[in-house]
């Protein structure tokens, strides 16, 4: 039976996975991927079957947990935002060497235009790097269909599959035709090739040529894929290669009737045979792809290509930001309709910390405490409190990646910086801050670490935080001096007390941790409502 419902791209994939016999979903929240695990958590079939859907501490633990489930022959997914794949890169790349047993799909949701991210890295590179197949759905329906297809591809090829989403698919809703019944889960069964799961050199040396061969054969699997297809067009002056969501912009640009032949790509490694067929009949190639010029670079190689290749590297499509109908039209020389310009009086409205947010009081107290020092430096981290960079606080000097506040503060202190302050949220701390704190504890580095604990993963909408109620014990367990681990409620009435505490610990010639606690105002409101 089929049914038509409205789903976000994230949700469509999640439901597709459940209906394809998913046994475990693993993830760390990150925009625009968060709704995948959230969907599994509230799905009735997933509840009834007790499908795993607890948040993981970070993306690396998520991929490893999913790989463990795959080892046991069951179907698993691990979902994250694009930069999360950096954190998970170690298990991800090595999972090509172990291979998959039960179907394993790793989802990376890229964020071109950096709506809520620090960079525009394109996860498709990771697929080629690890030598794993990549699926890149063009729409919500493909996101749904590719779950079942991806599990089968994974089991047939014996490899994990990377599914690449982008913001405009993850966070766009459309009508999706779904199955009304979920396929049963797989029974536990162990890998037949046992040796490749122990990546000692003796085994890896044998496995690697096999992986190279398998990956080489996947180009033909891509050519046969139902998601890759060559659509003919009468005008052979341009042959278009359009991948993922970019295919929609091409279709929209021509009102659904494209005069040029189009090769729609949604599965990698690239289907060389189809590309050759397109190139043979067209006098130039236009590559339209969301993100970095992965396909375009692949086509260009080192030598001057025999045919003109038009795309991002040639300057015909914008190198930064997400594509849209207008930028694609411009590349084809089609004029866009001009609307009115934005009146000058319209000013930017940047995001800000909520009124009633504890991070505000922490920054207020911190700025006061630091005002007497000639050159204080504050190393920030990833979360709502990153907004402390903006006015009125202007309180942060660096933000790089999850957990970097503590380690950069330590490096700065090693260089002689004082005061050297790290500010990190509770969820980011348990994601990637604990190991860095251990480094600082072992050297008693003269840094002040503020864990601004709002009891949740706030920026992504309030998911459970793995260290809630355990932060002090974690710090003490890592070996922090109990005399320099403090907990304080970050309430407006405590700003003076916080300021004094910050100053005292900044002047301490060793490591201190101050855990400032106040529930996120957004989750607090929700808790009041559900009561």
């Amino acid at each position: 039976m089929k049914q038509r419902i409205l789903l976000l791209g994230d949700e469509a994939f999640a439901l597709g996975a459940i209906n394809a016999g998913l046994s475990g979903a693993y993830a760390y929240p990150g925009t625009p991927s968060t709704e995948i695990l959230e969907f599994v958590q509230q799905n009735p079939v997933a509840k009834e079957r007790n499908i795993h859907s607890h948040w993981s501490s970070n993306e690396k633990t998520a991929v490893e947990e999913a790989l463990g489930m795959s080892f046991c022959g069951k179907r698993a997914i691990a979902a994250m935002k694009h930069v999360g794949l950096n954190v998970a890169a170690d298990p991800f790349v090595n999972s090509a060497m172990t291979g998959a047993n039960g179907g394993l799909i790793v989802v990376a949701a890229d964020d071109p235009s950096m709506h809520s991210s620090q960079n525009e890295q394109d996860s498709r590179f990771y697929g080629a790097f690890a030598m794993l197949p990549v699926l890149e759905p063009a729409d919500q329906q493909e996101a749904y269909d590719m779950a079942a297809y991806g599990f089968e591809l994974s089991e047939k090829s014996g490899l994990p599959v990377l599914l690449r989403l982008v913001t405009r698919l993850s966070h766009s809703r459309a009508v999706v035709e779904i199955d009304t019944e979920a396929r049963p889960e797989c029974e536990i069964h162990y890998p037949q090739k046992k040796k490749q799961w122990v990546l000692m050199p003796v085994n890896s040396k044998r496995r690697y040529p096999e992986l190279i061969e398998t990956y080489g054969n996947l180009a033909e699997v891509s050519a046969e894929s139902p998601f890759n297809r060559l659509i003919d067009g009468p005008d052979k002056s341009i042959g278009i290669i359009a991948s993922g969501i970019a295919y929609n912009y091409v279709m929209e640009a021509f009102g659904g009737k494209c005069p040029y032949p189009v090769l729609k790509i949604a599965q990698y490694p690239l289907p060389d045979r189809l590309i050759a067929a397109l190139a043979a009949e067209c006098s130039s190639i236009m590559v339209v792809e969301e993100g970095q010029p992965v396909i375009e670079q692949h086509l260009r190689g080192l030598h001057t290509p025999a045919k003109a290749i038009i795309g991002k590297l040639s300057g015909n499509l914008p190198r930064t930001g997400e594509l849209n109908v207008d930028s694609v039209r411009a590349a084809f020389g089609i004029e866009s309709q001009a609307g009115d310009s934005v009146p000058e009086l319209v000013v930017p409205r940047p995001p800000a910390l909520c009124q009633g947010c504890g991070h505000r009081d922490v920054y207020h107290a911190l700025n006061n405490a630091l005002s007497n020092y000639p050159s204080p430096k504050v190393f920030g981290d990833i979360g709502c409190y990153t907004l402390g960079y903006l006015a009125p606080f202007s309180a942060i000097d660096t933000v790089v990646d999850m957990g970097a506040s503590i380690t950069m503060a330590k490096g700065a202190a090693d260089a002689g910086q004082h005061p050297s302050v790290a500010i990190i949220g509770d969820s980011t701390f348990t994601h990637s801050g604990m190991t860095g704190l251990l480094d600082a504890i072992n050297e008693d580095s003269p840094i002040t670490v503020i864990i601004s604990d709002n009891l949740t993963t706030g920026m992504t909408g309030g998911q459970d935080s793995q260290g809630t109620g355990k932060l002090r014990e974690i710090c003490l367990g890592l070996g922090a001096d109990p005399d320099h681990v403090h907990t304080i409620d970050s309430l407006p009435k405590n700003v003076g007390q916080m300021e004094e505490l910050f100053r005292r610990e900044i002047d301490h010639k060793g490591l201190s941790v101050i855990i400032s606690v106040r529930e996120c105002i957004q989750t607090a409101r929700r808790h009041v409502k559900t009561k």
Binding site: V175, N324, G339, V342, P343, L345, V347, P351, C354
Partner: protein, 194 residues
Amino acid sequence: MKKDIILAGVGGQGILTIANVLGIAALDQGLYLKQAEVHGMSQRGGDVQSNLRISSEPIHSDLIAKGSADMIISMEPMEALRYLPFLSPDGRIISNSVPFVNIDNYPAEEAVAARFEKFGARALLINADEIARTCGSPRSANIVLLGAASPYLEIDTEIIKQALIAHFAPKGDKIVDANLEAYRAGANCSLLAD
């Protein structure tokens, strides 16, 4: 039938509720729909928008092209103006007239209102906050605007009402009734304006 709609506002004002209700209605009427929204950092008091596309034919792009939106529905007047480049030459603006001032350099209220004059009858500014309060549901300004937009949507108004009921049903009959009232009051504004 094709309606490309830009929903605009400030994070937390409830534009996604409008999108959800119209989504349910479009699905009920057997229409195609794509609706792109923004999550994450900008939801914290920043400007937010959603591209809502409804059509009797399959829709390709999740995003609306410049100069082609049939309507801007905005919870806030300055936010409506931010998306003028997307409005088609005969498109409509339906906007709340009440400014949401959470920035120091918010422009003069009268100057913002004056920018709507050139659109004549194609722009409808209503005090949706006050109308919502009168209906006994201060948080339903978004539904007032949905009501005001309803005569131009080419979706059966009964289907939209059913969608409203479906959306608010989990919150109880009182909330459902208040929102139906807000919807009717909004629709009346447009009928009076015509």
